[in-house]
Amino acid sequence: MTTAIEFQAVQKSFGETAVISGMDMQVQQGERFVLVGSSGSGKTTSLKMMNRLEQPTAGQVLINGKPAQDYPLQKLRWMMGYVLQQIALFPNMTVAQNITLIPEMKGTPKAQLQQLADSLLDRVGLSPAKYRNRYPRELSGGEQQRVGILRAISSQPPIVLMDEPFSALDPISRKDLQDLVLDIHQQLHNTIVFVTHDMDEALKIGNRIGIMSDGQLLQAATPQEIAQHPANDFVRDFFKTSVAKNVYDRPVSQLLLAVTPLTDLSSQQQSAAGRLAEDAALRDVFQALSINENVEIIAQTGQSRGYLNRQLLLNYLSQNED
């Protein structure tokens, strides 16, 4: 794997106030890297230093191994899609015009633009005939951000930066759009840097998570590593308090971060097991285990993530009592 984005001793201060105080970080190509932390922790500033919306006060940001400031600005920015919390669709342009903005600037012929807009709209389940000529104000928040994501990926940039893209949306739209991000990543294999303050979201989106506090990156690791070996107490507490309050409401996928599921079942046991999706809540697992000895957990991709039994479940509960 090659490094897509690397921070070397990056510092950033606005006037007297230091926002980032010495940050080293690596994001590998094809990763879904989530920066998570409370507001003011410096995660958004870090993101903006990647596409040079902000300049580091000291240190260096490397993109594909080359210092960011050595790229022509436009070229650098066309390498990176950008999705904003405020969505920020241009209100004077139609949905199609918003989506094809960057390809158009790059000189793609008009006929192809229309086609591109339509195929992208289709991909996120918005009927092109119905949506392409609408203006952003005629769309719901969730629909707007779908278009916002399409605008960011329309020219297939190798990197996509997302700055708290779903924090202003309702829970249902949020879940749909999180699924959309995972889906897009699977199709395009691009590098996604995703900023959020929501640990649940971080756990769902990221295959690596960086936890930030007070301008410092405390730990950057896989969710499992963070769950099992938090770098310090702050990370442990942040992880704990951030996950769903009621333990029975947590998705199974979170349990799998702390518990290693069984894989060595006999074929007879396997066929007798119940099946659950990884985003099912723990209470569903209880119900399933009251009937079956084992429950097989299925990832969103359809692959098996292994089996849970009553012992593993009780073990997890005893560790995570509030």
């Binding site: 596409n51 436009q74 650098l76 920015r77 950008y82 904003l84 920020a88 930066l161």
Partner: protein
């Protein structure tokens, strides 16, 4: 109402021309103001301190009274369209600058950030995002500026730039409400139409807006080019002050000149403004000839104060001629007969009854005199005060509005008034003038004024104009003013009639 319609149908042609002039001045000013204010506002969006200063400056510019601004511009750029356009541009700057600045600074920072993050260049961002988003605010500023300009442009007539203000000024001068109303309503309607047109542009794309702008520039440019082309042919421009009398005179000039020389084309600019504007226009070669009064030359145009009382008409003329030649290198041709000066007038019947010929004769009837005179006349040294001193007269006088004193004398409330010796009202109310036998009033005889160089170059024109020298009595002038002001004949018609009946035109071949 009927009168308005009548006046309108009589002056349809003039109104069309005035509208066009008005539109040209206004659009030109608006375009220049836009070309100045919008780029400036775009530039200062990133420099808040400079923006604050510019807002203050444009604000201060707008507080200068328009009349004062026009007056200040005359010594710098002369008269005509140029100072009018400059003044209008100055007024339009603030609303356009302010709205553009506001429109651009009020754009959601998230949109700016998005545009940056998508690698838009400064120009691209401006054209695709900032200007379209600021457009409604900018357009509303332009509309405010336009309405302001169209209203203020009526003042352009004061400095000879024409436009609808000509109607309003003429109306005030002739006490003709219909003319004032026509000018005012036309200006208002023009403002509404143009404002609506611009409103329509509010939701147009930048491309459409720019193309519309381009079309307007081409049309205006075409218009000016056409004008320049037309003016290229050798023409003589004769202008006249506000009012019927100068307009009749310049029509006579035109007919005399064109009748004598088929190759000269005369353009008339009637109701061109007040004395100083015309005088400056002549000095700047914007016009070639205009009729001026000998008395005015000495009283107003001479730099050193000149004594005007106690001079005969002849002495006044030769003195005026000398002053103009030595001071300005201008030639004042020989004057006509009539003296358009202050005068004392009584009813012709009263004049006959008491055998009155001169002002001195008034001493015999001093005890029964009851005067009604304008405040201006009562207060002037060469007015009533001078009369009392020079002629040793004393009688009761009430101050009255100009129009009122004529009504008062016709109803026998008073029996003596002040007047201009060629006022058409003298004819209308059967009044007679008393001769100023002591030459107390300065003499105001009309004569063509032109540059000495022009006179030298066009001896034929000088000869044509000199045919009016010593012609046109006060009564004849009164009569002609009466025909125009009261009987609504055109000045050209009246001028022609006079020239024909006095055999001043060469017989047509």
């Amino acid at each position: 109402m009927g009168q308005i319609i009548q006046t309108y149908s009589e002056r349809k042609g003039e109104l069309g021309q005035a509208l066009l002039q008005h539109l040209q001045i206004s659009t030109l000013s608006l375009l220049i103001a836009m070309l100045l204010a919008i780029p400036l506002a775009i530039w200062v969006v990133k420099h808040h301190k400079i923006a604050e200063v510019l807002l203050q400056v444009t604000g201060v510019l707008q507080t200068i009274p328009s009349l004062a601004l026009l007056g200040l511009l005359i010594p710098l750029v002369g008269i005509g369209t140029v100072p009018a356009v400059i003044a209008l541009v100055v007024y339009a700057l603030l609303p356009i600058f302010q709205s553009t600045y506001l429109g651009l600074t009020e754009i959601d920072p998230a949109l700016e950030e998005a545009a940056d993050a998508f690698g838009m260049s400064r120009i691209k961002k401006l054209m695709k995002v900032e200007l379209p988003l600021a457009m409604p605010t900018i357009i509303s500023g332009i509309r405010t500026a336009l309405v302001l300009i169209i209203g203020t442009a009526t003042l352009a007539a004061l400095i000879g730039a024409g436009g609808l203000g000509t109607f309003i000024l003429l109306g005030i001068d002739r006490n003709n409400t219909s003319l004032i109303l026509i000018g005012a309503v036309a200006s208002g309607v023009l403002a509404i139409i143009m404002s609506t047109l611009i409103k329509w542009l509010e939701h147009a794309s930048v491309k459409t807006a720019v193309s519309v702008l381009a079309v307007i520039i081409v049309l205006l440019g075409g218009g000016s080019a056409y004008n320049a082309y037309v003016n290229r042919t050798e023409t003589v421009t004769i202008a006249g002050k506000l009012g019927s009398e100068p307009e009749i005179l310049i029509n006579m000039y035109k007919e005399l000149i064109e009748n004598d020389d088929q190759h000269v084309k005369v353009t008339l600019k009637p109701n061109f403004g007040k004395t100083t504007f015309l005088f400056n226009a002549l000095r700047n070669n914007q016009i070639d000839i205009y009729p001026e009064f000998t008395g005015t030359v000495l009283e107003t145009l001479a730099k050193k104060p000149q004594k005007t009382t106690g001079l005969t008409a002849k002495a006044t003329y030769s003195k005026a001629k000398k002053v103009m030649l030595s001071q300005e290198d201008l030639a004042l041709l020989r004057p006509m007969k009539y003296n358009n000066s202050y005068a004392l007038a009584v009813k012709t019947q009263f004049k006959k009854e008491h055998h009155l010929q001169t002002i001195s004769d008034l001493q015999n009837v001093q005890s029964i005199l009851k005067g009604g005179m304008t405040l201006e006349f009562i207060d002037r040294g060469d007015g009533l005060k001078g009369i009392k001193k020079v002629y040793g007269l004393d009688f009761p006088v009430k101050s009255m509005e100009p129009a009122l004193r004529y009504q008062a004398i016709s109803k026998n409330r008073i029996n003596i008034v002040d007047a201009y010796s060629t006022d058409s009202e003298l004819r209308q109310y059967h009044l007679g003038i008393l001769k100023d036998d002591q030459h107390m009033f300065p003499t105001y005889q009309g004569a063509p004024l032109m540059t000495a160089a022009f006179a030298k170059k066009h001896p034929k024109i000088v000869r044509s104009l000199n045919r009016l020298a010593g012609k046109v009595t006060e009564q004849e002038m009164q009569e002609m003013n009466y025909e125009v002001n009261v009987k609504d004949k055109t000045p050209a018609e009246v001028a022609h009639q006079y020239l024909v009946s006095h055999h001043l035109l060469k017989e047509a071949e």
